[in-house]
């Protein structure tokens, strides 16, 4: 069966141990977590997890059902349209020739986030596959370090 990438937005009670219930569920049943981000939902007792997972349709259906089965799970949003963004930080030595970097940052919603004596840190926020492309393209500047967030997603 076909391997499908799926973004899940899971709303859970913001309480002790809830993250380990979710990660334990994925580990215990052999499901994939490609990325996971968590943050409280303002002015509520809830948190939102954005989980990027993959599997065949049968596995994905079970993942959603098993997530629902956890007692602190309030809602699992799996279908419909998502705006999905990831963030990447890349540290580039100042010794590099920055020719074309500006155009590239523009193309990927990027900016310079920080700088030091001998480096700059650029930041881009974009779709996950575009982040893939950016991280490939930025290699020509011989980055010292690259950090990538998981996806955050909002259903629209």
């Amino acid at each position: 069966m076909e391997h499908i990438r799926r973004v899940l937005s899971v709303i859970v009670l913001n309480e002790d141990g809830v993250l380990s219930r979710i990660s334990g569920l994925f580990a215990g049943r052999g499901y994939n977590i490609d990325s996971l981000t968590v943050a409280p939902i303002p002015k509520t007792n809830l948190s939102r997890l954005t989980i990027v997972t993959s599997g065949n349709t049968h596995v994905l259906e079970q993942i959603v059902k098993q997530l629902h089965k956890l007692i602190p799970t309030y809602k699992v949003i799996e279908s419909g349209e998502f705006v999905e963004k990831e963030l990447a930080l890349v540290k580039i030595p100042l010794s590099e020739d920055f020719n074309g970097l500006d155009a590239m940052l523009k193309a990927y919603n990027g900016t310079i986030a920080s700088s030091g004596e001998d480096f700059i840190v650029v930041m881009v926020a974009d779709d996950y596959n575009r982040i893939d492309n950016f991280l490939k393209a930025v290699k020509k500047y011989n980055p010292i370090d690259m950090v990538r967030s998981g996806s955050v997603a909002m259903d629209v």
């Binding site: 859970v12 009670l13 141990g17 380990s20 219930r21 215990g28 079970q62 007692i71 309030y74």
Partner: protein
Amino acid sequence: MELSGSQMVIEALRKENVSVVFGYPGGAIMNVYDEVYKQNYFKHILTRHEQAAIHAADGYARASGEVGVAFVTSGPGFTNAVTGLATAYMDSIPMVVISGQVPISMIGTDAFQEIDAVGISRPCVKHNYLVKDAKDLARILKEAFYIARSGRPGPVHVDIPKDVTAQMAKFEYPDEIKMQTYKPTYKGNPRQIKKAIEAIVASKRPVLYIGGGAINSNAANEVREFAQICGIPAVETLMARGVMGDENPLLLGMLGMHGCYSANMAMSEADLMIAFGPRFDDRVTGKLSEFAKHAKIIHVDIDPSSIGKIVPIDYPIVGDLKNVVEAMIPLANESVNADKYKPWRDLLKRYDEIHPLKYEDSNEVLKPQWAIERVGELLGDKAIVCTDVGQHQMWAAQFYPFTYPRQWVTSGGLGTMGFGLPAALGAKVAMPEKTVINFTGDGSILMNIQELMTAVESKIPVVNIILNNHFLGMVRQWQTFFYDKRYSSTDLSMQPDFVKLVESFGGRGFRVTTKEEFDKALEEAIASNTVCMIDVQIDRFENVLPMVPAGGTLYNMMLEYKE
């Protein structure tokens, strides 16, 4: 009014009408035990091992349908309890297990008898709590009981640090409970139910596949009525024994690895499977691609994640089985013609006549199947039948004449050796008017043998019948069939004198080699009104048959074993 955390535990149990708690004290739970000493609401039964306390609470829950309750201490007390929790979780048994924990300030320091208990129990309970403040305790205990018994039942673990059991706080036990995130579905979707009935009407060879959900939902009467109205033959899983009642002509028997021929053929040839609360366990289905491959499937289950987990379902119905079948009955009355399935019923009856469940009796040596049938003849519905795990368990499932739900107490999903004796104690405490029999093996019985002491001390007269083949029999059987008789570590010839052993605890023991001795021992054992052990010397090489080898197909059973 302010109470200490420990007093709250007692009060909460009182509010939940708990009449018995099984447990074992220790440092971290001493405050609670101090309050146990002072109260008169419930009885506390001291087991001799924490695992047994959980199995006893489990046996109590299975026999009574009520929530079983157990107390254990932190660290090793809790880790000993884990097998009990996992056993109950696999079979969806409602329990609340309260463990002590080191004081909050010491959590994370690798303190004496500290272990991350909620971290360990998480995958083997329905839900768990680490209580950080006594002011939350009333709500947590209320939720624990509610979660344990509602929806798909299961064990709930509450870990309480020692300082929380001493902390004073206001105690308000909620009467009602409403959880923001947990809302089980009880009522089946009427449109789905209607479609299911239409599928039944359209079918020619329907079969009822009944699972443990029928017991948990207390739906036996409704299931029997539905089967009767529709004239649909039924098969039961190991967990569902007793739902239909063995005298019911519509019941073919147990299905699966050691199921009977007609039951497995019914599944294989059916054009419609009506699954009432089973979970399509691998010991039932055999090879999935060949499992009931001609059948459309209706699956009724209270747990949505159970539906479609193993096989795709044509007509899913999420809901409480009792509720759903109640809704199906009037529709079935209107539209299902039971006569239509007569040729199908006749065919299955013929299958049963060709290959009934059978064994060859002998005059030289006792056969385990005979012993089980004999207990069935002598005690029938007067007995609740518990088992350990292995060959004796399968023989009991096959040959005991079960007539009502909750008459059968066995560890199905996890297959926990050592379950039988403590579970039998729990069942006897729940149903004191019944004779409680524990069919066990010479392997299993030694895995919680210390509970003979509990039985004697707390005066719980259960009758343990050891079907003793001096082997770890089920593993030996597989070695015979599939490993060229290399009996690796399964010969249990080295064993205690079980008669002296039970008598050293203060119970009664009998060693039996003939049918006459068996009858006499059983009669004396029941009359003795104390814990008994009947060591029945059986044919060493008897096999459980028929058998579908693991991964085999239901329609291709091994009906006999030839050298």
